[in-house]
Subunit: 211 residues, 2 copies
């Protein structure tokens, strides 16, 4: 999946305007969480993902601009599409700001403030928990477990044997010893850790018996 | 709470650097959700709140810059603080992008694309539900109900008789007929509506009997 800097992903041109804008919206939301997570856990991997997502945003922005020009037939069309481009632009600016944030890690250590200490005070906290091999969440997908509906914790990223998965889809299966980065309230996190540690059985009926 | 454009809130100078950056982080996260909500529900009120929060960010940015200059005694201090200012800057840029997004509403109607249609395709959806007078969530605080831990739905804003409350604190009490704007999964929303509609009793033990 590695792409050189000057490579423009032309496949994205085939996406509809709706798909393009939806993807930009989704990235603009997750990238802010990822940027704060990168700073909190001083993680170069997560910082790299933020930079990759920012590049993807550039491709999407290019694709949506071309697509909009091709779609405009009348002045009314063009006016509507200019509004859509304004949103795409704002979404891209959010990604750029997130990437600026993580570039702090290129600075020498003494230039970095004690960020994790600072960010710990925030209302919605970003935290990490590891899945014990005793946890009965192991070998179930995120969708089966419905972790977000059941605990309120949103999974931002998972680190497993294969490396990182960011903004994971519901069909991703959890494995023993995976580290999970989540965002949510203190109560929700305390609840989640009961299950990830294996101290309590995962009760909700959403757990399917066959993976 | 109305402030003229050129008024600088000097009270913010009394906040610690940590408090200032934490507040900027919290705003940078909620403001993106609010901007998308304003577009989805074509709400001038929510758009106004986005613009107010952007102004608050300007005040915070000014305060953090002054505070950082006052705090720096040595070159090491100054280098650390410059990193902190870079994050503050990125948080402010996110707020600026969110405000750009909602300024689309100042355009004539024909310039606005069918945004709600587009945003409905997004993974994490923003939705609205109204609290029935039959719901036993009525007269309980958000904290007592632990809505986020129990359903995974994060409350972005509440519209009640007194107007809008954005990014509500846990001590806010829900009233009959309040409209709640939430963000989360489809499953979580379906779950939540069972209770807001009064069709099912709110079971979780977190409900205290006295408000």
């Amino acid at each position: 999946m590695a792409e050189s800097d000057d490579y423009i992903n032309l496949n994205k041109i085939d996406m509809s305007l709706k798909e393009l804008l939806t993807e930009m919206k989704d990235i603009s939301e997750v990238i802010v969480d990822l940027a704060y997570a990168a700073l909190m856990f001083d993680s170069e991997d997560i910082a790299q993902e933020v930079e990759d997502l920012e590049e993807e945003m550039d491709d999407l922005k290019y694709a949506i601009r071309i697509k909009a020009m091709m779609a405009a037939r009348t002045k009314d069309d063009a006016m509507q599409l200019s509004g859509l481009l304004q949103i795409a632009n704002a979404a891209e600016n959010i990604a750029n700001a997130a990437a600026d944030m993580v570039r702090l890690q290129e600075f020498p250590l003494e230039q970095r403030p004690f960020l994790s200490f600072i960010l710990k005070e925030s209302e919605e906290k970003i935290r990490m928990t590891q899945l014990s091999s005793d946890s009965d969440m192991v070998n179930h997908t995120i969708g089966e477990l419905a972790i977000e509906s059941n605990t309120g914790m949103r999974i931002i990223a998972i680190k497993g044997r294969q490396g990182w998965i960011y903004d994971p889809e519901p069909d991703i299966k959890l494995r023993a010893h995976d580290s999970i980065i989540v965002r949510g309230t203190e109560d929700g996190f305390r609840e989640l850790v009961k299950y990830t540690s294996g101290k309590e059985a995962w009760e909700p009926e959403e757990v399917a018996t066959d993976g």
